[in-house]
Assembly symmetry: C2
Homo-oligomer: 350 residues x 2
């Protein structure tokens, strides 16, 4: 039985939940998936750093919060020494779940690069490094014979990247359009139900969907990163963030929404990319009034969806959660499962 | 470069389209998928039988229809000698696309059994053998070290069975519900738009969605078979056709539809299965008035969809075409791609 040693970089909601899954379901995962997982390193801005090659006591780690001291009390350090831990720990796989910086993808880009350079595989739920440095990091992984997986960067654990890559063999993918941000989708839905913009945002914040500063969600920055990732990964677009036109939902007034409703239309914030006749790819994010029988018009609340346009099947759409601690932690697990399958050919025999 | 020799059992719309794909895209498939396809046998009720181990001229075969003679004029036979062709031809893979018989699955069950017994892999788009004899035939394939694939039996080329098996590793699947018949879904949609039942059926027939005798679609028999396949394949239910409760849409009156519409509900014919606390599976087909924000409520026209209920992700839904010549022929191609991946581990490296 293979056991993969993993390091958790960032011990917030996502990596904590992954640790909970490993602690609570380790035996089940072992029997169902054919491999075990052992956490050998954790770094966190508040808790510091802990490296234990024989395996960290997850009960202890999960009981710690910022208020109860640091890893210094458990044989580690109060400092967050990411580079040294990532490069020198005994992990096979680095699970990167720090925060997304849409400008340069740092510090996550460096985390991923350090890991791949030291011949460790990486899974991440972090849009930044994938959107900003995806091609470079994928190439680095290939050079070093390790894996770089990032299913969770787009729709948390809902399979999108892997679905398109594995389920559409033999098809030509001409483009996609998607609802890739639950907050803006929720807000538009509540405005259709009669709330004004501010009230809808406020409700979304109370429900935990929207951040204190909702601009990334409302103005389309979050979707822009996701469109960039999907366009480059699935359409081999070779584009940069500036090539993805972006318009948010703040221009969608209650009047526009009510008018659309009377006309059998529904406003959605749609991220899309399409291959042009000359082979180039046009990508963008903007609010669109969709007919009610459009495949994305019925995607409500915080649900996300991507509709793929294929040559032989026409549109194939997948919808599911686009966020959530457990859902995103599963994305990391699904990445590790994919790495195991690639190593052993296990997926081929499912 | 591997070349798989294939035999086409039944040369109607689906296998003709597969032959067209092989003829028109053979080189592309070869370079993209890493294998070639060669048709070495065809049998058909009208055209007879043709076996040519060095490869059949597909241009010739595709030009033939029932009116222009039989394969006897091309070195074959006017007789449909399925057993002998299936058992003795040199094909690696039998593509079974005859007609579905929901009583005993014949003659397709025999076609599949003969192929597996003679150590040939089988792909089929035929619900009958999978629904009625799926466990027996899968077991026979395993004993003989060959493959039995049938993605197209449920939603044509839209990945459903393979998606659930390959994309949901590490998740617990608790059940599913789906819109699995385009004709009945189209009819319900047109009735919501104001047509009465007969007019809606008539329109569906004109569009080619509904058969001359629409009972299989309208009374839920088609969905019943698909639910049986999904329940046994994905939930390991071990149930038979009689265990899938069935009710069609003929009880859904225009009055019920208008009332639902006023209440924010929409009638859909839903096929579903759910694992019970004791481990047993309850499965059925019936019309249900769904809230408009339900994931299946917006699935319109001839589109099909399945919503999977998982433990860590909640509901994940895939929608796409549920029928069509090209779409169903792609299902056979996707089965062959899966067989190739299983042989070579190729899927693991995608």
């Amino acid at each position: 039985m293979t056991t993969y040693d993993i390091a958790l970089i960032g011990f917030g909601g996502v990596n904590r939940t992954l640790a909970e899954l490993v602690a609570a379901r380790g035996d089940t995962l072992r029997s169902e998936l054919g491999f075990g997982l052992r956490v050998v390193a954790i770094t966190d801005l508040r808790l510091g750093s802990l490296v234990q090659p024989e395996g960290i006591d997850l009960g202890m780690a999960l009981n710690m919060d910022g208020a109860s001291g640091t890893f210094a009390a458990h044989g580690g350090s109060a400092d967050t020494i990411n580079e040294s831990v990532i490069r020198n720990c005994t992990a096979d796989i680095i699970c990167e779940a720090t925060f997304t910086n849409p400008e340069d993808g740092e510090p996550a880009v460096s985390h991923v690069r350090w890991a791949l350079e030291s011949n460790k595989s990486v899974c991440t739920t972090n849009k930044g490094p994938v959107a900003i440095r995806g091609a470079e990091l994928t190439s680095l992984a290939e050079q070093n014979g390790v894996h770089f997986e990032f299913e969770g960067a787009v729709m948390s654990g809902t399979p999108v990247i892997r679905l398109a890559k594995k389920m559409f063999a033999g098809l030509k993918l001409n483009g996609f359009e998607g609802i890739l941000n639950g907050t803006s989708n929720y807000v538009l839905g509540r405005m259709e139900a009669g709330l004004d913009f501010e009230a809808a945002i406020s409700e979304a914040q109370k429900l935990g969907y929207a951040e204190a500063n909702p601009a990334a969600d409302i103005e389309g920055y979050d979707v822009q990163l996701k469109v960039l990732i999907l366009a480059n990964e699935l359409l081999d677009a070779g584009i940069e963030l500036k090539d993805v036109q972006r318009q948010g939902i703040s221009t969608v007034t209650p009047e526009k929404i009510q008018k659309a409703s009377r006309e059998g239309l529904r406003w959605k914030l749609v991220g899309s990319a399409r291959r042009n006749v000359d082979g180039s790819v046009t990508a963008g994010v903007s609010p669109v009034a969709l007919p009610l029988d459009h495949g994305l018009a019925g995607v409500s609340g915080a649900t996300n969806a991507v509709s793929f346009e294929t040559d032989l099947l026409g549109a194939v759409t997948v919808s599911g959660p686009g966020a959530g601690r457990v859902e995103t932690a599963y994305a990391l697990l699904s990445d590790i499962i994919a790495m195991h399958a690639a190593r052993t050919g296990a997926a081929a025999h499912v």
